[in-house]
């Protein structure tokens, strides 16, 4: 029954995947954030209208909630019978309980709480009686429901504030009518409408039904709060699912349980791109607890379904045990035979020749010739893997001509069309339920496990949960690409940066551009670094799929740029903060295009200088340190956030690093939830530290060499430093935070090691150079 194409060549499909991921990232990075009353309000206004007036449609929307998976939400309260729907985000019960629907995937970035706070702020809801539910996945109603590129907040900002503000206006309108007074004489606070002159009060619960009959006001006519008037945003608010998390409630994708559910695992070729020649299916089917075993041809696209073997069983353990007994003969024609050690040697060869093609700004050769000091250096970084703690999974149930799925994806909204296309059914016949995700980090921008679950569910009677083993998560990731940089820079007699050359040797999935996450972004800073700049890229083929990992491209580019800038300031004999400030404030004309087009959150030298200065001040930049100690600092503008970080450490004679302090200063506009924002920065920095210090994926013969955490030492409590976090809050539009906080850590760390030891680390992870933490 599944309509799965016979795979065309893997190379084609890989290129198709990579192009798709690049388009997704380009869309994310290019996200425009119009002013609050901008053009895109049209759609939102009509959406808000529709949400209220298309009563039947909306009611339907809310019958498709996750309660079916019982389970899944455990004690999710049944919506009160008389609960009134004001729009797709807001429902109010007679007892004054306000239910807010959070539309995005919660992957640990705190969005479920943040989205609700943004709505509640404009709604003037009493937070104590707010209940937050996951919204149904329905991008036609909600717009984007993906989490990626730290765009959830900037994308949702207007829509959510307006959802709150319009509902508030309708509640006030209804109360005013009831009292026979002008709405302008009424105000609302903590879920109560008050008529100021008479002091009369009505709870939201008391007027909700009447409010639903009010005309939906034009959001453009409603004033939105100024930051100074926020009552909730900017405070420390605990996560709305905290109580469920600490009591072990079944809220994650992996926790889905349904009557009659069976369990599945899916085995693919260890060298991606291989096909099944034969497998011992008959033996597997006879194993205890095994229900079935079958082959899928797949589509050959690594983000959909690769060819492989599905094992179905009565419980996860039976399936995992059967997997160990599975013997497959693979046809590896066209499959990956990649070797990263060979690639590293090849990169060196490539770097020996002058790169073509090049992009030149200014007279680069002349600038180098006239440089007072010229520095050359090569940097390289390893392939790394996401390894979110919840292994991939999704549950599928093919029933009544509908494919119903439960998933911890970051892009469940995109999953609808992907699954429809995969199975050859109409999009209306695909229902996806968003489950909480045990981490994302960009891994779950791809929906391969969701597609696999759908393809398997088509062949199984009743619901089936696909569960990957950790080993599957290692073997089939969309990795952060490794890369090699050959740099040259010059400073003039006054110590100003005048020329810069960056030859990147990266990989390609076909065609003439670097793999997803392997290039250089054009809306980050620093990218082009000097008045005269040469940029060149050479590409080597790679069949292992690469993708987006937390702060894609910037997680490597900022390390290279931030470290090399320090090499230059050292060569010029200048104070690094002073050097950076001068460089931040240089004329931007040659590099401005494409970085922050109209409406985007663009690089702002004032904000950049602000965070850098404060980080220097808080870290005690310039203070006297003992021998063996050092401080490093770095700045980056990435994913809309201006962030500076400083690291203070010591290094012993065995190259063991002890970190004394890390200071981070971020300007992301207004902070929605101070508690979660601080947690996010601390986590992002330690995540960055973990990756920089010790993580590396090796590939030989197309096979990923690391199979579990024992070979991939994600940083533990013992090595986790204290991270001090500061925000410069501003009235700029808010940026996200998950990505911007990560990139400055690596250069700040490397610069601190240099300050302590005089040794420059130009290879990542730093353990390659003998350092440990």
């Amino acid at each position: 029954m599944p309509v799965l194409e016979t795979p065309s060549t893997y190379a084609e499909k890989l290129a198709e995947y990579d192009a798709g991921m690049q388009a997704l990232v380009a869309e994310i990075r290019g996200v425009t954030v119009p002013a609050a009353t901008g053009a895109s309000n049209m759609g939102r206004r009509s959406f808000l209208k529709k949400a209220v007036f298309a009563g039947g449609g909306l009611a339907l929307l809310f019958t498709l909630d996750t309660r079916r998976a019982r389970a899944a939400e455990g004690e999710a309260p049944e919506p009160h019978a008389e609960t009134t729907t004001l729009n797709a985000f807001v429902r109010i019960a007679p007892d004054n309980t306000v239910t807010l629907y959070s539309k995005g995937p919660e992957i640990g970035q705190g969005i479920k709480t943040a989205f609700a706070l943004i709505i509640a702020e404009e709604l003037d809801a009493d937070w104590k009686t707010v209940v937050v539910e996951q919204a149904p996945v329905n991008p036609k109603v909600y717009g984007s429901q993906s989490a990626g590129g730290s765009t959830s907040i900037p994308r949702g900002w207007d829509q959510l504030r307006q959802a709150g503000a319009t509902a508030r206006a309708m509640l006030i309108g209804a109360a005013a009518k009831q009292w026979g007074v002008p709405a302008a004489e009424c105000t609302a606070s903590e879920s109560v409408v008050t008529h100021k002159p008479s002091g009369r009060r009505l709870t939201y619960g008391a007027v909700a039904t009447a409010a639903a009959k009010e005309e939906v006001p034009d959001a453009k006519t409603l004033p939105l709060k100024a930051r100074a008037d926020y009552k909730l945003m900017g405070k420390r608010i605990g996560g709305v699912d905290n109580a469920k998390i600490v009591t072990g409630k079944p809220i994650f994708g992996i926790d889905v349980q349904m009557p009659g559910m069976v369990y599945a695992n899916y085995t693919k070729c260890p060298a991606i791109g291989g096909k099944v020649k034969s497998a011992n299916l008959d033996e597997i089917r006879k194993l205890p607890g095994v229900v079935d075993a079958f082959l899928l041809d797949g589509t050959g696209n690594p983000a959909e379904v690769m060819p492989g073997v599905a094992i179905i069983g009565q419980n996860t353990w039976a399936v995992f045990k059967a997997k160990a007994a599975l013997k497959v003969e693979w046809d590896e024609t066209g499959a990956s035979q990649d070797s990263l050690t060979a690639a590293a040697a090849k990169a060196k060869e490539i770097s020996a020749k002058p790169p073509t093609p090049q992009t030149n700004t200014g007279d680069v050769d002349a600038a180098f010739a006239s440089g007072a000091k010229v520095v050359e250096a090569s940097y390289e970084y390893a392939m790394v893997s996401h390894q979110q703690l919840e292994p991939e999974n999704s549950t599928g149930w093919w029933h009544d001509g509908v494919m119903e799925l439960w998933t911890p994806s970051q892009t469940a909204d995109r999953g609808i069309s992907q699954v429809a296309k995969l199975l050859g059914i109409a999009e209306e016949k695909v229902t996806i339920h968003q489950m909480r995700a045990g981490g994302g980090f960009g891994r779950r921008l791809s929906n391969d496990y969701l597609c696999e679950a759908a393809a398997i569910a088509m062949k199984v009677k009743g619901p089936v949960k696909l569960q990957w083993m950790r080993e599957d998560d290692f073997a089939y990731d969309f990795f952060r690409a490794p890369g090699f940089h050959y740099l040259k820079g010059a400073v003039d007699k006054s110590g100003k940066l005048t020329a810069f050359q960056n030859h990147l040797v990266s990989f390609t999935a076909g065609g003439d551009r670097p793999v997803s996450g392997g290039g250089r972004s054009n809306n980050s800073f620093p990218t082009d670094m000097a008045p005269s700049t040469r940029y060149a890229v050479s590409l080597m083929p790679l069949k292992i799929p690469c993708g987006s990992m937390r702060a894609p491209t910037d997680n490597t580019q900022m390390w290279v740029a931030g470290s090399f800038l320090h090499e230059l300031s050292v060569a010029a004999g200048r104070d690094h903060v002073e050097f950076l400030l001068e460089w931040i404030n240089r004329p931007l004309a040659p590099v401005e295009a494409g970085r922050g087009g109209e409406g985007r959150i663009g690089f702002d030298p004032k904000r950049a200088a602000g965070v850098l200065k404060l980080a220097a001040e808080k870290a005690g930049w310039g203070k006297k340190l003992s021998p063996g100690q050092g401080m490093g600092i770095a700045f980056s503008f990435a994913y809309g956030g201006h962030v500076a970080e400083a690291v203070e450490l010591s290094v012993d004679e065995k190259k063991k690093i002890t970190i004394h302090n890390i200071v981070a200063v971020a300007d992301i506009g207004p902070v929605v939830n101070m508690s979660s924002a601080e947690n996010q920065v601390q986590g992002g920095i330690i995540d960055g530290l973990s990756t920089v210090m010790g993580l590396e994926i090796e590939v030989e013969k197309g096979r990923i060499q690391q199979t579990n955490f024992d070979g991939y030492p994600i940083l533990r409590m013992k090595a986790a430093p204290k991270v001090e976090v500061h925000f410069i809050q501003s009235d700029f539009r808010p940026s996200g935070l998950g990505e911007p906080c990560l990139p400055p850590l690596a250069p700040a760390l490397g610069n601190a090691i240099f300050a302590a030891t005089g040794q420059r680390v130009r290879t990542m992870p730093f353990k390659r150079a003998g350092y440990s933490i």
Binding site: G108, G110, D241, A243, I245, V246, D255, P391, R436, R716
Partner: protein, 163 residues
């Protein structure tokens, strides 16, 4: 596969499972206690941590046939609907990000505080070394443990988020 009698969260339950099924999967798939998480299956991540007679152990490494003693899962930590002090601290300090590791973290913290009612940072490092947090909430975990121990946290940047 004889029915195994297990003592879980103060109740004796009878479980039909193959003898090598790890306690992790017995809890999750057979008994529908989903709070104990699968992370690695090889004793590296601690997501599957449970308490047995008060000591924290990796349930992915214990076969059902060997699961002797009083087993406490994250679902059984609260008593009479009242959160354990460690759970309450985790809520008060808003420790979780994705939350996936936190059941295991909490149980390890409970065991740590039993052995060391006023743990030093070094004791926390050792006591929590089995538990990975991929979201790296370590600053908050450390602070929460100190807090739960009634000690004034050594860490700066106190996070007192109301629930």
């Amino acid at each position: 596969m004889p029915p195994y009698k297990l003592n879980i969260n103060k109740k004796t339950v009878s479980v039909d499972a193959v003898d090598d099924m790890p306690l992790l999967w017995v809890l999750r798939d057979v008994l529908d206690l989903k709070g104990t998480k699968y992370g690695c299956g090889v004793s590296e991540c601690g997501a599957c941590t449970v308490l047995i007679d008060g000591r924290s152990v990796r349930s992915c490494q214990i076969a059902v046939s060997e699961a002797q003693g009083a087993i406490t899962t994250i679902e059984g930590l609260a008593e009479n609907g009242k959160l354990h002090v460690v759970q309450q601290t985790w809520v008060d300090l808003d420790v979780a990000q994705c939350g996936y590791c936190q059941g295991g973290q909490i149980l390890s913290a409970v065991a740590l505080l039993t052995a060391h009612p006023q743990p030093t940072d070094a004791e926390i490092d050792t006591g929590m070394s089995h538990n990975l947090c991929r979201c790296a909430t370590y600053n908050r975990i450390r602070e929460a443990i100190h807090h739960a121990a009634g000690m004034k946290s050594a860490a700066k940047g106190d996070a007192h988020a109301g629930a």
